[in-house]
Symmetry: C2
Subunit: 252 residues, 2 copies
DNA sequence: GAGTGGTCTAGACCACTGC
DNA sequence: CAGTGGTCTAGACCACTCG
């Protein structure tokens, strides 16, 4: 078998950069995902079908899918098929939220939208979200409650073009996680994020919302989230009250 | 080929819990690593040799090694061999230290040991390090500097039995990372850690050491580190000054 | 050139799911 | 039962490293 799939209709390119076949297959599947060929939660074709489609062996497709499953892009289910990972999946709810009660256990959480307005991208949004100056952005402020108590205040910046029709009402109506809603209502799937953590003193407004004294230490979490193709589509800054919760991180 | 390697000298057990062959091989290799059959930085036998040793195909050994490489336990080097991962490897230096300058770039860092004394395990050490009440522990206090400026104060708790002969002098003499030294001098390799982050107010002592006002917000990072077999061998609490640095985390 | 890991294939069989 | 992913094997060839 040739070291290139350039003869396939999907990639008529004769790339000068060589990569193993399974990686080319991975890119093709990735592209199909990006194009929305299969929606989150749906099954993708079986390994045998994909092998036929791309004219490679099942083993090669398998290796491509293995990597994508490791990247949390796909989910394998033995005996059933391979599915597009979704934030609607209960197991993915806390994938991006590392907050956990100090006293162990699991607490019911709730997102409380406070405000939602539109603005024009300033230098910050331009830099982080890769927009052009003055492009429309949406700003959301919301509270995250654990066990009925406020623990996080978030300020979320979104590219307006990507989330048309997002309003406070839409936010209030939606249940489940924000990313789950983004996926269902706007077809935007977050697959990766970078977080920058610092300790800061609570300003007056945040202190009131979180029910802590002004000036008390809060965990500041800035997050940039990316969709397919490493395109940034969300910037958010959260202030976490770590009186009764902590940010849990696994290093390996 | 049979679904069990129970006939091998290494595992004369006829376990009732079934696991795929490659996972049994993985466990055997893990066990060999734990036993110190190959030291960090050394090459392990080639895939073909291991296949012969365990009476399985090269592909099965490959899959076991693949997983261990993904776990950062082994490092593959094409054309050379597979090596036991080591904290002496420059690429691993910052594996457990997520601190990075706000202004980007890389700064030279230095560990400054302050104190080192012995004590008996209290309830905390017993719980976290799995010791028995009163067993010897070692406590280290040290400062971490970036670009000649203090950024982190650490208090580190170690099981005394595991680090015999660890003194302030030993700490002062050693260059490189602490984990690198643990590996070289005590044969203890950290392979995984859990961190719990919170925001706290600077106490007087820490504030002085970090050169910040008392009461200013600091990032508190509690870490439990594990060696082979998920045995906890270090508990540390660090206070990070996040005035000019932040804790960077990748979510995926 | 010999030895290593890396890729790709083809085929057999197992384990799980759901009709 | 058919169809899916999961495991294991054997063999061919490639890419890289080093003497």
């Amino acid at each position: 078998m040739v070291q290139s799939v350039s003869m396939l209709p999907q990639t008529p390119v004769d790339s000068p950069t060589f990569s193993p076949l399974y990686r080319q297959i991975k890119d093709l599947i990735l592209q199909a995902l990006d194009n929305g060929e299969w929606r989150p939660g749906e099954a993708i074709p079986s390994e045998i079908e994909l092998a036929a489609r791309f004219h490679v062996s099942q083993g090669t497709v398998r290796k491509a899918i293995d990597e994508m499953a490791a990247d949390n892009l796909l989910v394998r289910r033995q005996g059933k098929g391979t599915y597009v990972a979704s934030h609607n999946d209960p197991r993915a709810f806390f994938r991006f939220l590392r907050l956990t009660p100090l006293a162990g256990g699991i607490e019911p959480s709730k997102s409380v939208p406070l405000e939602c307005w539109r603005a024009k991208a300033g230098t910050e949004a331009v830099r982080v979200l890769g927009l052009k100056m003055g492009e429309p952005i949406i700003i959301v402020r919301r509270l995250l409650e654990f066990a009925e108590k406020p623990v996080v205040v978030d300020e979320i910046y979104l590219p307006g073009d990507v989330f048309p029709g997002l309003t406070l009402d839409v936010l209030k109506e939606s249940t489940g996680s924000l990313y789950s809603m983004f996926e269902t209502k706007f077809g935007v799937r977050m697959i990766r994020a970078e977080e920058r953590l610092r300790a800061v003193a609570a300003d007056r407004v945040s202190a009131e919302l979180l029910n802590v004294p002004e000036g008390s230490p809060l965990l500041s979490v800035e997050r940039i989230s990316f969709t397919y193709g490493d395109r940034p589509v969300e910037w958010r800054r959260g202030l976490y009250s770590t009186a009764e919760h902590c940010y849990l991180n696994e290093l390996s």
